[in-house]
Amino acid sequence: MLRFVARRLILTIPLLVGISLISFLMIHMAPGGPISLTTDLNPRATAEARTRLEKYYGLDKPLHVQYGRWLARMATLDFGESFSPDGRPVAEKIRERIPITLTINILSMGLIFMVAIPIGIYSAVRQGSLFDRVSTVFVFTGFSIPTFWLALLLMILFGVKLGWLPISGIGSLEYHSLTVMGKIADRARHLLLPVLLAGFTGLAGMSRYMRSNMLEVIRQDYIASARAKGLPERRVIYLHAMRNAILPVITILGLSVPDLLGGSVIFETIFAIPGMGQLFYQGVMARDYPLIMGILTIGAFLTLLGNLLADVGYALADPRIRQG
């Protein structure tokens, strides 16, 4: 088991290098350097100012030298300094933003877990029933709906028309003066819509997978024999069938990381949440090379982590792999 994990870990290294190479090449094929926003069409800047800035950012060195420098620094988790005028280290900027994005993603994974599993199980048990059909449509709607559209509709409904929930940000203005409980409640209210949104759209995959797994398990011989033994149906389903069907599904949670991260760009922008997605979008628009590469790499790393966890979970669930 340990060997399995160790092997998988070692395999991630070439992946990381490959990732950094691809993102570096990709970003440098972009027309327009990062300084363009500072100086272009600005009546008060001059050519001299521009060259000065170019030198300052190291753009006058050849490509492979730039990449080499970047890679060496990446190994020490130093992503360099952001090209934006505040010039802060990229790692710092990302570090500030990760907690909130991770919080929302983890909470929505939890939501997905809590809602999708029961739906999947019940749909399988009652295959073809009204519940199955309705939940299928429900789940599929979540999968098919444009997230930004739903976000705005929810904001209007809950934020404006009903006034129950705050509509943007992660904390009220009076946050500091609240008690600990108050702070938690405030945070929760602010995060409710984003988490609901991310969860709703992610329900489909999980519940469909749960459903098909459950369906497969139900048809197994040992279930038939349990029934024949006279065990109550409820025990058959919820104890035996479910236990076997659920393990693989849990591992899938890890694989939903990239989708959640990607989706965060949109709803972080709409809900004005200062997370990684919003930072990424701003970095892309400003052609902030180090920032973009940093976030892409971190994102890929998180995905790798999710995959690893999924694999480990799967190995735990499947005794065949566990032994080997």
Partner: protein
């Protein structure tokens, strides 16, 4: 056999539909005001929450280039001079100044008794230090040019600062609006953009910096020792809300007190009596204009008659109604109506398709099956504009229709900003562009119209070259005499109107909206924020209790 209606999909949609259209007014707004009952007396206290689309990148204006950062810095820092409500220069940290008769030397007399927010005294040493850093190659600033024109600077005593230029240079005065930096806090940092002050500023201004959460908010508290008197509003918070629609929702629910409205928000969403009891809307001309610029070396646009024809074809009223919902004015030149340099009597181009066609016929374009053709070539060109700008996209769409009416096919291409500049503008690889300029109060536009400014990355990218304009531009910037400058700029506008290197389209209105409890706002040429430290909330209307 059970039938599942296909329409089950429509059910969620129907519910949404009902919710959106059914309910009438939204949340009820703040306390209704009885204007007569509340004494309108300036009082200290309360807090104002500003909504901002973009976050800031730093507090030192020299090394930032975005409007949000400069605005933020403006709470904490001062310059030697600033613009008053009528857009004339007045002293800020400089009590007064004199310009020598030959226009080459400016002597600033600085205010006495001004203190930095950490208690240290403000003196001419700070001004000297600021000047030195502006021209220092280690400072990553884009604004060094104006300061490099200085031949000699001196600080003969702690409250006098003298600069000498090689030649009389009118825009020089305005350049001293640059924020003055504290020498004692920055001299140890060779690169000010890396100094702690860029994140935790200390200035002489009306507000002190309290906190900056990147991408989220900035907090300022009133500076009790401000040399013009402590500001009434005790705290300012700038909240970052990157989406206009969300910000508006926040405004209505009380999370934001002041923001800029878009034309549709101004006209359609803020006309209810409900809204009017809680908010004041303002409208005044913004300092910017939008234009259609031609590459003057393009074979079609070389001919002045063609450019004029397009100016006649463009329906500016439709543009203002369509793009700005009526909230703006026609632009006839590169100056804002109402400013002293604006010439109201230049040639105007009303929407006259017949005249446009006549001019084009004169220039050799013949009509064939609804399109114009000359020497076998149809009149087709591509206009470029930057992606993500709704107003410009709409402007392009309307112009496209206008030109189609007279037989010209204009294709629209939106390009992302950096690519736009680097690939198309800089390489002069365009037919025409739709862009805008923002206008500084000083009317010198040498960099945009002078024939020497047509190099790559320079601002005269359309390639305008007119010897008379060149001369006038030089005249305009080399004298401090307003009347002489006015004459020069008036004549420049006449020529530009005749030559139409751009079709000047419109000047939009600025549309700020402020929660009604804030009093002391007096709209003027400079807008409404020029006297921000004098805004107040009467005691009875104060919403937030701020501990001093």
């Amino acid at each position: 056999m059970r039938r599942t209606p296909r329409r089950i999909v429509a059910l969620p949609a129907l519910i949404l539909l009902a919710v959106l259209t059914g309910c009438g007014s939204g949340k009820k707004e703040a306390q209704p005001e009885n204007a007569a009952a509340v004494p309108d007396v300036p009082a200290y206290g309360d807090m104002i929450v500003e909504g901002s689309i973009g976050g800031i990148s730093g507090f030192l204006s020299a090394v930032t280039s975005d409007a949000s950062s400069h605005e933020a810095a403006g709470y904490v820092f001062n310059g030697l001079v600033r613009y008053d409500k009528d857009l004339t220069l007045e002293g800020e940290l400089a009590k007064s100044w004199e310009v020598s008769p030959d226009g080459r030397r400016i002597t600033f007399h600085l205010r006495k008794g001004v203190k930095w927010q950490d208690g240290a005294p403000f003196t001419s040493e700070d001004v000297m230090f600021t000047y030195r850093r502006m021209i220092d190659p280690r400072t990553p600033t884009a604004y060094a040019e104006d300061f490099k024109q200085v031949r000699r600077a001196s600080a003969p005593d702690p409250y006098t600062f003298v600069v000498e230029y090689a030649r009389s240079f009118a825009p020089a005065l305005a350049s001293w609006g640059m924020h003055v930096l504290p020498k004692h806090l920055l001299e140890k940092h060779p690169d000010i953009s890396k100094s702690p002050l860029n994140k935790k500023p200390v200035g002489t201004g009306p507000y002190r910096f309290v906190e900056w959460k990147t991408g989220e908010k900035v907090v300022y508290d009133a500076n009790p020792d401000y040399f013009e008197g402590k500001p009434y509003i005790a705290r300012v918070i700038t909240r970052v809300i990157p989406d206009q629609a969300t910000m508006f929702l926040e405004l209505k629910s009380g999370g934001v007190d002041i923001m800029t409205l878009t034309p549709p928000q101004y006209t359609r969403q803020t006309d209810t009596p409900d809204f009017r009891t809680s908010f004041n809307k303002y409208k005044y001309l913004a300092s910017a204009y939008t234009y259609l610029g031609f590459r003057l070396s393009h074979p079609f646009f070389k001919d002045r008659r063609v450019r004029q024809a397009i100016a006649f074809a463009a329906d500016k009223k439709a543009l203002i109604d369509g793009v700005l919902l009526g909230l703006g004015q026609e632009a006839t030149g590169p100056y804002k109506p109402g400013t002293w340099a604006y010439n109201p009597n230049v040639r105007k181009y009303t929407h006259d398709p017949a005249r446009a066609k006549a001019l084009l016929a004169e220039a050799g374009w013949k009509e064939k099956d609804g399109t114009l053709v000359k020497d076998g070539r149809p009149f087709e060109f591509t206009v470029l504009t930057n992606a993500g700008n709704e107003a410009r996209a709409k402007t392009a769409a309307i112009l496209q229709q206008n030109l189609a009416e007279i037989g010209i096919t204009m294709k629209i291409r939106t390009v992302e900003w950096a690519a736009f500049i680097n690939q198309f503008i800089d390489k002069r690889d365009f037919d025409a562009v739709i862009l805008g300029w923002s206008l500084t109060p000083d009317p010198d536009q040498y960099d945009i119209w002078h024939s020497s400014k047509t190099g790559p990355k320079e601002l005269n990218f359309v390639g305008f070259a007119n010897p008379e304009v060149d001369k006038l531009l030089e005249e305009g910037r080399s004298t401090f005499d307003i009347e002489k400058r006015k004459k020069a700029y008036f004549r420049i506008q006449e020529i530009l109107a005749e030559e139409q290197p751009y079709v000047f389209l419109f000047v939009p209105d600025a549309l700020p909206v402020v929660q009604k409890r804030f009093h002391g706002i007096h709209p003027a040429s400079a807008g409404i924020s020029y006297n921000f430290p004098r805004w107040y909330v009467p005691k009875a209307l104060q919403k937030y209790r701020i501990q001093p």
